[in-house]
C-alpha cells in the first residue's frame, strides 16, 4: 500500500482521464503529480508544488490505472504532508461546514436573501474570493437534527430493525428535506433510524481546503463514536461515505477497520435489502418522470453506480437515462473559489451540455456538491435517489408490506 508508487509502469493511461488536465495545462496531471512527483518529493520537499491543490480528488485516475496505483491518495497525502497549513478566511469558512452552518441556520432568514444579493456577491468576490457567479447553497431554517428530534425520534423505537444514519453537514444545515425523506423511507421499509451522537463533518471540505489536522480530528472522533454503535451506518451522501470508508485510512491515516464493514450508502443498502427479499416495495400508481442519472466521481471509484441504476430501474413510471461518465468540476468547494471558477465550469461543460441536450425533468445524483454545481450551472433540479424513491413509492402501502408479522 505504502509503496503503491512503485507499481506505476508509466503507461500514462491516467493522464488521459484526468478532467483537470483536459481543461488546463497548468496542472501536471495525475502521473507527474502523483507517482512521478512523489519520487522527487521523497528526495526533497522543494519538489512539492502548490498546483497539487488543483486536483479534484475525483479518483478517475485511480479507476483507470491498470497497476492499482493510489494516485489521488498519493497526491492528497503529499498535500497533507507538505501543503501550506494556514488557509485564508474564505477557505476556513468554506471548509468549516459544521461551524459556519451552526452559526448561519438561526439567521437563515436574513442570510439567504443577502447571499443572493448581487452587491453582496460582488463584495464576497472581491474580499473573500468566492466567485460572484456562484450560487452558494442556502441555509435551512431549522437543522435536520432539530427537525428529527421534534418530528421523528419518538416513533423510531417501535421498529424492530435499526439503522444508524450519518446525515452529513449538507442535510443538517442546508437540505434537511433529504434527511426527512430518508427517515420516512426507512420507516416504510420497517427500519427505525437513529442519528449518530455527536456526528462531526466527515472532513471532505477540510481536506480539500488543506486543513488536514482538523480533518484528522474529525475522522478520529467519528470513528470513535461510530464504533460504539451497532448495525449498519448509512449515509445518503456518496462523498461523506467514500471519505469515511476509504480516505480516512488512505489519506488521513486514521484506522477505521472497526467500522468500515458497516459503512454503507442508502441506495446500496436498500437495493440489497430488496434483492435479498428482506423488504418489499409498493410504487405509486400513475407516477411518471424522466430523469438523467449522473454518476458522481466517488460512486465511480466505489463502483457502486450500478446499485442506483438497478434500484431506480425498479420504478415503473421512471424513464432513466444514464449520463456519460464526466466530472462536474465542483469537487467539494473548489468551484466556488474565484481562482477555480472558470476551470471548474470548463471541466463540467461536457456534463452540462449533455444534460441540457437530454432535457430531463430532473437529474439524479448522490453527491451534494455535484448537485450545487449542476443546479447552478444548468438550472436543472437535482435529486438524491433517496428523495426520488420516497416520492415514487406509495409509502403507506410499502409500510404495510414490511410490517413484522404479528405473532
Amino acid at each position: 500500500m505504502e509503496n503503491s508508487l512503485d507499481q506505476c509502469i508509466k503507461c500514462a493511461e491516467c493522464t488521459v482521464y484526468c478532467p483537470v488536465l483536459k481543461a488546463t495545462d497548468s496542472y501536471p496531471g495525475p502521473k507527474k503529480a502523483g507517482p512521478d512527483g512523489e519520487r522527487l518529493r521523497l528526495k526533497d520537499r522543494v519538489f512539492f508544488e502548490d498546483n497539487l491543490k488543483m486536483c479534484l480528488n475525483c479518483k478517475r485516475c485511480e479507476v483507470v490505472c491498470p497497476s492499482g496505483v493510489k494516485i489521488a491518495d498519493i497526491i492528497q497525502r503529499a498535500r497533507h504532508r507538505h501543503g501550506r497549513p494556514i488557509p485564508g478566511i474564505r477557505d476556513m469558512m468554506l471548509a468549516s461546514t459544521d461551524l459556519t452552518g451552526s452559526l448561519a441556520v438561526p439567521f437563515s432568514g436574513i442570510i439567504n436573501p443577502v447571499l443572493k444579493n448581487g452587491a453582496v456577491r460582488a463584495v464576497l468576490d472581491c474580499t473573500l474570493g468566492i466567485d460572484r457567479h456562484c450560487t452558494l447553497p442556502e441555509y435551512a431554517q431549522e437543522t435536520f437534527e432539530s427537525i428529527f428530534k421534534k418530528r421523528f425520534s419518538r416513533q423510531q423505537q417501535s421498529y424492530p430493525r435499526k439503522v444508524n444514519y450519518f446525515h452529513g453537514c449538507y442535510v443538517n444545515y442546508n437540505y434537511p428535506q433529504l434527511g426527512s425523506d430518508f427517515v420516512k423511507l426507512m420507516n416504510a421499509l420497517g427500519f427505525g433510524v437513529s442519528l449518530i451522537r455527536d456526528e462531526r463533518c466527515c472532513g471532505v471540505p477540510l481536506m480539500s481546503n488543506g486543513m488536514f489536522k482538523q480533518a484528522t480530528r474529525n475522522a478520529e472522533s467519528n470513528v470513535n463514536v461510530l464504533s460504539g454503535t451497532e448495525g449498519p451506518v448509512i449515509a445518503t451522501s456518496s462523498t461523506c461515505l467514500f471519505t469515511m470508508r476509504d480516505e480516512y485510512p488512505a489519506v488521513l491515516g486514521v484506522d477505521n477497520s472497526s467500522i468500515r464493514e458497516r459503512l454503507t450508502l442508502a441506495v446500496k443498502f436498500i437495493y440489497e435489502s430488496v434483492s435479498s427479499g428482506k423488504v418489499r416495495l409498493a410504487f405509486r400508481e400513475g407516477w411518471k418522470a424522466r430523469a438523467a442519472y449522473h454518476v458522481p466521481c466517488h460512486m465511480e471509484r466505489l463502483g457502486w453506480g450500478i446499485f442506483t441504476l438497478e434500484l431506480l430501474g425498479m420504478i415503473p413510471g421512471l424513464e432513466l437515462m444514464e449520463l456519460d461518465s464526466n466530472c462536474c468540476g465542483m469537487a467539494g468547494t473548489y468551484g466556488f473559489k474565484k481562482e477555480n471558477y472558470g476551470l471548474s465550469q470548463q471541466i463540467g461543460s461536457a456534463l452540462f451540455s449533455q444534460i441540457s441536450g437530454r432535457n430531463p425533468d430532473f437529474v439524479i445524483c448522490e453527491c451534494e456538491t455535484c448537485k450545487w454545481q449542476i443546479e447552478m450551472s444548468t438550472g436543472y433540479k437535482v435529486l438524491n435517489p433517496v428523495s426520488l424513491l420516497a416520492e415514487a413509492l406509495d409509502l403507506k402501502k410499502t409500510a404495510k408490506l414490511n410490517q413484522p408479522a404479528l405473532p
Binding site: N3, L5, D6, Q7, C8, I9, K10, C11, A12, D25, S26, Y27, P28, K31, K32, A33, P35, D36, G37, E38, R39, L40, L42, K43, V46, F47, E49, N51, S67
Partner: protein, 510 residues
C-alpha cells in the same frame, strides 16, 4: 593525417581519476589532452556506490585510508557542494552481531578508532537513530552517527570535465589508445583509434599519465612495463525510490551488502566483492546469488527493501593493485598508488595513477599532477583543495512538473538536453543519461527515449541515427533489469518489450 600538436601531458582514461588529473594539470597552466575510449564515467567511476566516505568504515583496520577519507570528505563538501548530499551516516549494531564479536564492545573500539583518525563519531540511542532515519532496522541495539554523505558520481565527473574544458583541456571521448609510443627509454605519445569512425591518430606529450583504472594494466603493457592488479567485481542494486535519507552501515567488519546509500531519487544497496579475470572486466554480469545476498543483507539494514521495487542491478570493477607489487612501487598510501615508471622501471615520461576511491580522486589527481610537474620542472602548486569546482549547469530535476519535459521520471527538460549536447560532449543517449539522469527513473527510458533520441538527433543534425541510438539504449537498460526481473520490474519489462518490439517491427515493415 597525424596530429603533430605537442601537449605537456596526455591523460589516458576519462574516469574520475583521469578527469581530476586533467583538471589539476590545466589549473596549473599545463596544456592537456585527455583521451577516453568510451564516454566519461563509463568505467568504475559510473558504476560504484556513490558513498562519500567519512572514513569510519576504515577507521579500525586502515587508519591511513580513514584519515585520507575524512580530509577529502571535508574538502569535497566545500569545493563541490553541487555534487554532494550531506546526508550523514549511521553505523548500526544488530542483535546478531553480538554472537560474532561485533556487539557494543566493538562499537566502543570503533568510536575510539574514528576519533583517533579525526572523524566525528557519536554513539546515539536506538530511539534517536530511528527518529533520524525511520527506515532503519528497528531491532538495532546501538548506532553511531558519522559524517558520511552521498556523492553523485556522474555529476562529479561532468563537473571535472567541464572545469577542465573551461581551462583549455582537450577532451576526446570515444578515442581508444591502441599503442603507447616509446622512443628509447621514454614514452613520447600515444596512438589512438576513434571507436565510432575507426579513424586513427597520434598525439605527443612530454608526460603521459595512465589513469585507465583496471585497464591501466593493459596500457602499462603497451608501454612495456608491468603492473599487477587484482580486478575485483562489486555488484549493487538500485531501488525504485529513495528509502533512506541517511547512509546506513553495519558496525562490524566489512562484508557483502552492508551499506545502503541514498543517492538522488534512489537508494542503492551494495556491494559484493569477487575476484575476476581481466577478460571479464568488459562483460560484467550480476549473478542471481549476488542479488539474493544483497536483498538478504540489505533487509537487515532496512527491512522495507523486501517490498520495494528493484529498478536494476549493476556491477563495477575496483582498480586495486596487488600488495606484493606495492613494495616496489611508490606506495603513497594503502589505497592510492602512484607509480613513476622512471624510478620503478627506468621508463621516462610515464606515470600510472590508480587504486583509491571515487571520493579521494582529488588527492589522487594532486599526487599525479605533482609527479607530472616534477618531471616537467614546473613549479606550480596544487589549488584544487580550495578552487571551487565548476557546476556543469544541468539541473537535476526541473522544479516544475509543468515544464516541457522529455524524461518525466527524472524531470529532464528540453533545455537540459540542449545544454548537455552543446556543452558537455554528449554524443549518444547513454552519454545524455550520464549527464542528466535521463532514462534513469522508474520506466528506464521506456517512455522518454524516443523523444530524447529525436531531440538529440536534431541537436546533432543527424536524424538517421535515431533508430540505432534507441536500440543501443534500450538494450543497455534491459540488461540491467534482467537480473532483477520480478514483481513490478517484471511488469515494466513486459511493457517495455511490448512497446519497443512493436515499434521496431512496425518500422521494419515500412
Amino acid at each position: 593525417m597525424y596530429d603533430v600538436e605537442q601537449y605537456d601531458v596526455i591523460v589516458i582514461g576519462g574516469g574520475i581519476t583521469g578527469l581530476g588529473t586533467a583538471r589539476d594539470c590545466a589549473l596549473r597552466g599545463l596544456k592537456v589532452l585527455l583521451v577516453e575510449r568510451d564516454d566519461i564515467a563509463s568505467g568504475a567511476s559510473g558504476r560504484n556506490h556513490g558513498l562519500l566516505h567519512s572514513g569510519a568504515r576504515y577507521a579500525v583496520n586502515d587508519p591511513e585510508s580513514a584519515r585520507e577519507c575524512i580530509r577529502e570528505n571535508k574538502i569535497l563538501k566545500k569545493i563541490a557542494p553541487h555534487c554532494i548530499e550531506k546526508t550523514g551516516g549511521l553505523f548500526i549494531t544488530l542483535p546478531e552481531d553480538e554472537d560474532e564479536g561485533y556487539g557494543l564492545e566493538y562499537q566502543k573500539i570503533f568510536i575510539d578508532a574514528c576519533k583517533t583518525s579525526g572523524i566525528d563519531a557519536e554513539a546515539i540511542d536506538p530511539v534517536d537513530a530511528l527518529r533520524m532515519e525511520p527506515s532503519v532496522n528497528p531491532a538495532l541495539m546501538g548506532a553511531v552517527k558519522v559524517p558520511d554523505g552521498a556523492v553523485d558520481p556522474f555529476k562529479l565527473c561532468s563537473a571535472n570535465m567541464y572545469d577542465a574544458l573551461l581551462h583549455g583541456t582537450t577532451i576526446l571521448p570515444y578515442t581508444e589508445v591502441t599503442s603507447v609510443i616509446r622512443e628509447g627509454c621514454s614514452v613520447t605519445g600515444i596512438e589512438t583509434r576513434n571507436t565510432h569512425t575507426g579513424e586513427r591518430a597520434s598525439y605527443r606529450a612530454s608526460v603521459t599519465v595512465n589513469a585507465a583504472g583496471i585497464w591501466g594494466h593493459g596500457i602499462a603493457r603497451m608501454a612495456g612495463v608491468k603492473i599487477e592488479m587484482c580486478p575485483t567485481k562489486g555488484s549493487l542494486l538500485i531501488f525504485a525510490h529513495r528509502l533512506n535519507n541517511v547512509v546506513i552501515n553495519r558496525c562490524r567488519k566489512s562484508s557483502d551488502g552492508d551499506i545502503l546509500v541514498p543517492g538522488d531519487t534512489v537508494s542503492v544497496i551494495g556491494t559484493t566483492s569477487t575476484g575476476i579475470s581481466y577478460d571479464e572486466c568488459d562483460e560484467l554480469k550480476v549473478t542471481a546469488e549476488e542479488v539474493c545476498t544483497l536483498m538478504r543483507e540489505g533487509a537487515r539494514l532496512c527491512p522495507s527493501i523486501t517490498h520495494t521495487r528493484v529498478l536494476r542491478a549493476y556491477a563495477g570493477v575496483r582498480p586495486l593493485i596487488k600488495s606484493a607489487e606495492d613494495a616496489t612501487g611508490r606506495n603513497i598510501s594503502r589505497g592510492i598508488v602512484c607509480l613513476d615508471h622512471s624510478e620503478r622501471d627506468g621508463l621516462e615520461g610515464f606515470i600510472t595513477i590508480t587504486g583509491g576511491k571515487l571520493m579521494t580522486y582529488r588527492l589522487m589527481a594532486e599526487i599525479a599532477t605533482d609527479a607530472v610537474c616534477r618531471k616537467l620542472g614546473v613549479p606550480a602548486t596544487c589549488k584544487t583543495h580550495r578552487a571551487m569546482l565548476s557546476d556543469p549547469l544541468v539541473p537535476r530535476h526541473s522544479e516544475s512538473a509543468t515544464d516541457e519535459l522529455i524524461c518525466e521520471c527524472e524531470r529532464v527538460t528540453f533545455d537540459d538536453v540542449k545544454w548537455a549536447v552543446n556543452h558537455l560532449g554528449v554524443q549518444n543517449l547513454e552519454d545524455l543519461r550520464r549527464r542528466t539522469r535521463l532514462g534513469m527513473g522508474t520506466c528506464q527510458g521506456t517512455k522518454c527515449i524516443a523523444r530524447a533520441a529525436e531531440a538529440l538527433a536534431r541537436a546533432k543534425g543527424n536524424p538517421e541515427e535515431t533508430r540505432e541510438l534507441i536500440r543501443r539504449f534500450v538494450e543497455e537498460r534491459w540488461k540491467g533489469m534482467t537480473s532483477v526481473g520480478w514483481g513490478d520490474s517484471l511488469r515494466e519489462m513486459e511493457y517495455m518489450q511490448k512497446i519497443w518490439k512493436g515499434r521496431y517491427a512496425e518500422t521494419a515493415e515500412k
